[in-house]
């Protein structure tokens, strides 16, 4: 597939936004059970606002993928069958809840809803956070399933696709949370940083597993099934166009194998190894943590580029020779 930067930015930005929100609410959940000090409303509000900015930037990027952005509202109609439609609903819904979460914290709307047996107080912000957490995972699921549900794009057609969207988004969000905490609430940066290390390691394992799986894939469709001629040697002489078409632009990344070989270790280094090293170096320095997030995010852009480029669409069998 030919990677579209609108979709690369959409998936990486909202992944980081979802991860950051999950990080903030993880901290608040610990605080509910008195495992960590509860922060002032401003900490959660400002953090959620950063998450909201990332989500909005991702949403804005997605519009550049559309031929008719003014009709985008129609995309919410087919949620019964289309994962893309479900994502179109889940993303604004999640953004709405994150916005409410930020406002509720900002205005200290700590209305007590229930008190758990252990003395833990569930207030209004916790309720909003829980709803937001569910929606964050729903959104991860929708985003992942857009790719995982296409059965003949076999590099994507695996549960690993959804798992990796969750792990990679979560990792970048928690690294960003560690950086944010190192500036806004230094005593929390090691908490977020430790979770970030765990998630980066899990992400590395998940992405590594999908790389290994995809390397072992053998194509189901062949020239023989494509045109229905049983002969081991079939060569295309012309594809029915003299200068390329949508089919040659949309489904080929246009880079050679050497470039792909460069991108793979590149994103593994930038998205996983470098942040791990930097997090190992310091869990409190804003500069180190900021750099870790920067490396991770640039690495994830390369990772997403590779994710698209590595997927080999069966239609490519019909489009091999211009002549």
């Amino acid at each position: 597939m030919n990677p579209a930067f609108s979709v690369i930015f959409l998936t990486t930005l909202i992944g980081a936004g979802q991860g950051l929100f999950l990080a903030l609410f993880t901290e608040q959940s610990y605080a509910v059970f008195h495992l960590l000090p509860r922060q002032g409303g401003g900490f959660y509000a400002a953090g959620s606002l950063i998450a909201l900015v990332l989500l909005a930037a991702g949403l804005a990027a997605s519009f550049f993928h559309l031929g008719h952005p003014e009709r985008a509202w129609r995309a919410a109609s087919q949620w019964r069958t289309s994962w893309l439609s479900r994502e179109v609903i889940a993303l604004p819904a999640f953004m709405g809840v994150v916005f409410c979460y930020a406002v509720a914290h900002w205005l200290d709307m700590n209305w007590v809803i229930a008190t758990l047996p252990g003395g833990a107080v569930v207030d209004f912000t916790v309720l909003l956070g829980a709803v937001g957490t569910i929606l964050a995972f729903v959104l991860f699921g929708c985003t992942g399933m857009i790719y995982a549900c296409l059965r003949f794009l076999r590099e994507w057609n695996s549960p690993l696709t959804v798992i990796n969207f969750i792990l990679l988004g979560g990792a970048s969000g928690f690294i960003l949370a560690a950086f944010y905490a190192s500036v806004a609430a230094p005593e929390l940066s090691s908490f977020f940083g430790a979770w970030a290390i765990i998630l980066v390691l899990l992400g590395l394992a998940g992405r590594g597993a999908s790389l290994i799986r995809n390397r072992r894939l053998r194509p189901k469709s062949t020239m023989q099934t494509a045109i229905g001629v049983k002969h081991p040697k079939i060569v295309q002489k012309t594809q029915g166009s003299m200068g390329g078409s949508f089919n040659t632009r949309e489904f080929f990344h246009g880079k050679d194998a050497a470039f792909l070989k460069l991108v793979r270790p590149g994103f593994l280094l930038a998205a996983f190894i470098a942040p791990l090293g930097l997090l190992g170096l310091s869990l409190s320095s804003p500069a180190t943590l900021g750099l870790a997030f920067l490396f991770n995010y640039v690495g994830l852009i390369a990772e997403r580029w590779y994710f698209f480029a590595e997927a080999n669409h069966p239609q490519n069998l019909y489009y091999q020779t211009i002549g």
Binding site: L66, R74, S82, T225, A226, K237, M242, S245
Partner: protein, 243 residues
């Protein structure tokens, strides 16, 4: 249930591309607006086509065969491109099984083209909507046309009648008979899309003649020849001559 479809006979197709030009001419002139055509006479022409004729070489020189392979939307009975559409612009008609795109609802997200294993959908870079073969839906039901003209433009144009059009759910239709009697097959059956369009394979008419058919073993003349020759004065069959 009706399922309209094309049956393309690869044994007859000569790769003249008359179906391609005829398709483009008809579909670029309709009320849905033109099919984009950029730099048609330049060095790098590109545009949207519903139908393309591709050419493949099968085998190794000198034992090769050239296969001309017209390719358009196959109007799958279980089309993977339809359920993924977020707006409902992509749909399959219940009454005749044609898969269509509503150009007024399409947002141009290209997701349906990802979901088609055959590469049958092409975006119109000017109108920014997804386009594909409509089986000339604006032609086959047009009462203003003579009955004989109510066929897709490509079928009408084919000089060798390599393209048949009809209802593959009607067992007595010309397409069903062609599929049944001439080994019609579907493309990429491994994905379970059940394409409505079928292809008829290249086939050669061979007659196997056994040696005993060239020289009949039971030839009565030869059997007679092997009998002992009667003597001249023996009575013959009709008592007139001895031989």
């Amino acid at each position: 249930m009706t399922q309209l479809a094309l049956v393309i006979d690869l044994n007859v197709c000569v790769g003249c591309s008359a179906c391609v030009t005829s398709c483009k001419e008809w579909n670029t002139s309709g009320s849905a607006g033109p099919l984009v055509d950029e730099r048609p006479y330049g060095a790098d022409p590109t545009g949207t086509f519903f139908n393309r004729v591709q050419t493949f070489e099968v085998g190794e020189f000198p034992a090769t065969e050239t296969v001309h392979f017209p390719k358009s939307c196959l109007h799958c009975e279980d089309p993977p491109c339809v359920p993924v559409c977020p707006t409902g612009a992509s749909y399959k008609r219940k009454e005749d099984g044609i898969v269509l795109v509503d150009y007024d609802k399409c947002i141009g997200c290209k997701y349906c083209s990802w979901a088609c294993p055959y590469g049958a959908r092409e975006i119109d870079e000017k109108q920014k909507v997804m386009k594909k073969c409509t089986l000339c839906v604006d032609r086959i039901y047009d009462k203003n046309l003579a009955e004989i003209d109510r066929k897709p433009a490509c079928v009408k144009a084919c000089p060798t009648s390599a393209r048949l059009f009809g209802d593959i759910h009607d067992p007595e239709s010309v397409v069903s008979i062609a599929i049944r009697e001439n080994g019609g097959y579907a493309l990429m059956p491994e994905w379970g899309t059940h394409p409505a369009n079928h292809y008829l394979p290249r086939r050669k008419t061979n007659l196997k003649i056994h040696e005993d058919e060239l020289e009949r073993a039971d030839n009565p003349l030869k059997k007679d020849g092997k009998l002992p020759k009667p003597s001249k004065n023996e009575p013959s069959l009709d008592d007139i001559s001895s031989w």
